[in-house]
């Protein structure tokens, strides 16, 4: 029985939908460059210890090689008077380390996140100088080091909060949307009750009960951060579960877990991926806000919010508020540009050109 064969396809390559989305994303120059710059910044901040540290990378002292970053040496090692750990910013030690054939390789910025320079020439907070490129804060800590480590804390916190919130949001949204009916109804009412809890009061109460820490903050913010996303995932699941390919899978006898995992979930991720950068910038911003109010990370942790609060208290020290503001704006802008590009890349109405 001859059946006319379907016309042969001309397209030689086969690209998966996610690969096509990536190609579309790459065509958006602004988004692509934002991604590149953001990644570079994150990598630099992850290696912050090698960029900004109050201990030298390598010290060659009287024929012996020392690695101060890996091991703490007492001052006596380098000809000092005490058994205390060496302060490499001490002019006396610096002079010993550069005398004769001795040498020391310092990091680009010779201050750590909490380093106080007891030998600073300027009063605190100090305006930008050759020693402190962006000045110091009101405790005498170097601003560049503060910003670098503060950026790292913000980004890591943002990533963790986004990840937890996204996973929780997908799971709850998937359960509501896939099973629908009474499950959905019960979950929706729970979300309404949960969402009406005063988040900020809870944070204040908990910060009074427990000693503040990043993990406590992460848990508290995660408890409330998943609800927005779960609504979107729920809507996608509600729409996708009644499409024909899901019915066909049911007719084949595919289990519910497999239907969710293989069929519905991959087709419901568009809002999740689109919101990722925006969720992350929201997470960074909420950490900054809490730090600004003094409800955030424990004292001594480098943080952008705390720097902003210092800037508010020291209005004359423009370098504190301006530089922190710049770091925040750049971070949020990069994330927003990436988000815009991602949204366009995943927009089903935009055809491949």
């Amino acid at each position: 029985m001859p059946v006319a064969p379907p016309a042969a396809s001309t397209a030689p390559v086969s690209l998966s939908p996610s690969r096509r989305a990536w190609l579309r994303f790459k065509r958006n120059r602004l988004g692509l460059w934002s991604l590149v710059i953001f990644c570079v910044l994150v990598v630099i901040s992850l290696a912050a210890e090698l960029v900004s540290n109050d201990r030298p990378l390598i010290v060659r002292y009287e024929g012996q090689t020392y690695f101060p970053m890996l091991q703490t040496y007492p001052e006596k090692t380098f000809g000092g008077d005490f058994e205390t750990p060496t302060d490499y910013l001490d002019p006396f030690i610096q002079q010993r380390l550069s005398a004769g054939s001795n040498w020391a390789l310092y990091t680009l910025i010779p201050y750590g996140p909490t380093t106080l320079n007891y030998f600073a020439k300027e009063p605190n907070p100090s305006a930008p100088t050759r020693d402190n490129w962006m000045g110091t804060d009101d405790r005498g800590r170097d601003m560049v080091a503060q910003l670098l480590y503060g950026f790292r804390v913000s980004v890591l916190f943002g990533l963790a909060l986004t990840f937890i919130g996204t996973v929780l949001g997908i799971i709850t949204g998937a359960i509501q949307g896939f099973f629908g009916g009474k499950t959905d109804l019960a979950f929706q009412r729970f979300i309404e009750i949960w969402g009406s809890m005063p988040e900020l009061y809870l944070l204040i109460i908990f910060s009074a009960l427990f000693s503040p820490s990043i993990s406590l903050l992460l848990i508290l913010l995660s408890l409330f951060g998943w609800m927005g996303l779960s609504d979107y995932v729920r809507a996608e699941f509600l729409r996708n579960r009644q499409l024909d390919y899901v019915k066909a899978a049911r007719a084949l006898g595919v289990s519910n877990a497999q239907i969710i995992w293989r069929h519905i979930l991959p087709n419901s991720l568009t809002p999740v991926v689109t919101f990722l950068p925006f969720r992350m910038s929201a997470a960074i911003l909420s950490l900054t806000a809490l730090d600004f109010l003094g409800l955030g990370v424990p004292p001594g942790t480098p943080s952008l919010g705390e720097l902003l609060s210092q800037g508010k208290n020291n209005i004359d020290a423009w370098w504190i508020s301006l530089s922190t503001f710049a770091v925040l704006v750049i971070t949020l802008l990069l994330l927003t540009f990436m988000g815009d590009a991602l949204r366009d890349a995943l927009d089903p109405r935009k055809a491949d050109k």
Partner: protein, 538 residues
Amino acid sequence: MAPSGPLLDVRDLHVHFGTKEVVSGASFTIAPGEKLALVGESGSGKTITALSLLRLAGDARVSGQALLRGRDLLALSEREMRGVRGGEIAMVFQEPMTALNPLMTIGQQIAEILQLKKGLTGAQCAQAAIELLAKTGIPEPARRANSFPHQLSGGQRQRAMIAMALASEPQLLLADEPTTALDVTLRGQILDLLSDLQRQTGMAVLLITHDLNLVRRFADRVAVMEQGVLVEQGAVAEVFGAPQHAYTRKLMQSQPQRDVTEIAPAPGTPPVLQASDLRVVYPTPLPGLRGWFKKGEFVAVQGASLALLPGRTLGVVGESGSGKSTLAQAILGLLPFGGSLQVAGQGWQAPAMRNSPANQQLRRKVQVVFQDPFSSLSPRLTVEEIVGEGMRVHEPTLSVAERRTRVEAALAEVGLAEAQFPGLLARYPHEFSGGQRQRLAIARALIVQPQLLVLDEPTSALDVTIQQQVLKLLQRLQKEKGLSYLLITHDVQVIRAMAHEVLVMKDGNVLESGPVGQVLDAPQHPYTQRLVESAGLD
């Protein structure tokens, strides 16, 4: 050509989207009072031709000439063009639900045009709108004028659209698939209405359609379009009587052909599918406080009894909302149902939706092919994953290589091979056309070697030429494998080509059933008579 010269003279019309030319050099004329049909498959550029006459084609580049009584529509200023749109040329769209404003009553929408184009006052408009609605045969036009679009039935909405188009007494009416979104029995009525109105007003009509039956019934002249090129035009009788172009001949021959085994199985053969007094209800919310504790019932199917023998096809025909798709889902064990149902001598273990071992065995025996090939394949799975799904579920012990062999065999059976599509197994559904996707859906169903295939409008979303190919494939598979089909469709022609037995459904009830010849040639029920009549079979 009419002695007074053509009403509309389109010369060398080109339409580009970016670098892609969708209409290349179309030239045609419409005389005053003439009914011209523009025929072609989806994507042939017929709708965009009509839209570019009104310069509504979005960001398309349009070149050429379109002379309306000597005035070039493509050269008019935007301001003059607004006068032409809805004035000298009016348009009726395919889907009246989306073409009407949901927030305005239809009376208001018609009045708006009268106000704009004829400068009538408010009271005059309201009266004229009611008269127009009355002209289109809407019952109780005075009351209907105050209805919102969602309060009207599909046919009434299309009538309201036509009333709107006629409000400005246009010289030319562009009707873009005006009946495609409607049920079969309504199509004839709307078409008759258009004919009547055309006779009364003497306007010219450009009918855009893919349905050759409509052309035969309605048009004076026909123009055939293939991929943006007008390949043939002329009087309907001439073109259809002696088609000159190969494509026209192909379209003409695309009517479904019957090619099935007519020999009945030996008496006493156990049926593949047997149901008696099948009943499916959907819960509906009740208003008020009662709704908190009780649910209402909507009866989607009741009292359906049927039997299907091996190697035979049972056609289920009916309009949208008649319960035919619900029936299919009950048979597939995807819905709870009442009454008795046996597939291959075995019933679904309640609840039918649960994948208990007994039900899993049954799922291998009954498979499904859906209507819309675009939503029936997950866009994020490859061909191998889609077609191999059944093997993963029912023969999980198969190795990857064995599964691939089975997938390739199933694809070969539906006429898809590596030779035509390099890297076939790794491709994604979006790279295939509608007909090819439908083949993939058939392969997915065939790989578990079912005895019964439920075909839910398998060809309704396809173009006529593709439809014929898919039907041929289904006929061949039935002969080779002795498959039984439960064929659900609204298309009487498809039933005639495929089915041995027929079941006519309306509003959840089975009106009539019996052998195909008997039901279609000598319909007993008035509804069936109307259905067969409006299918336009000569």
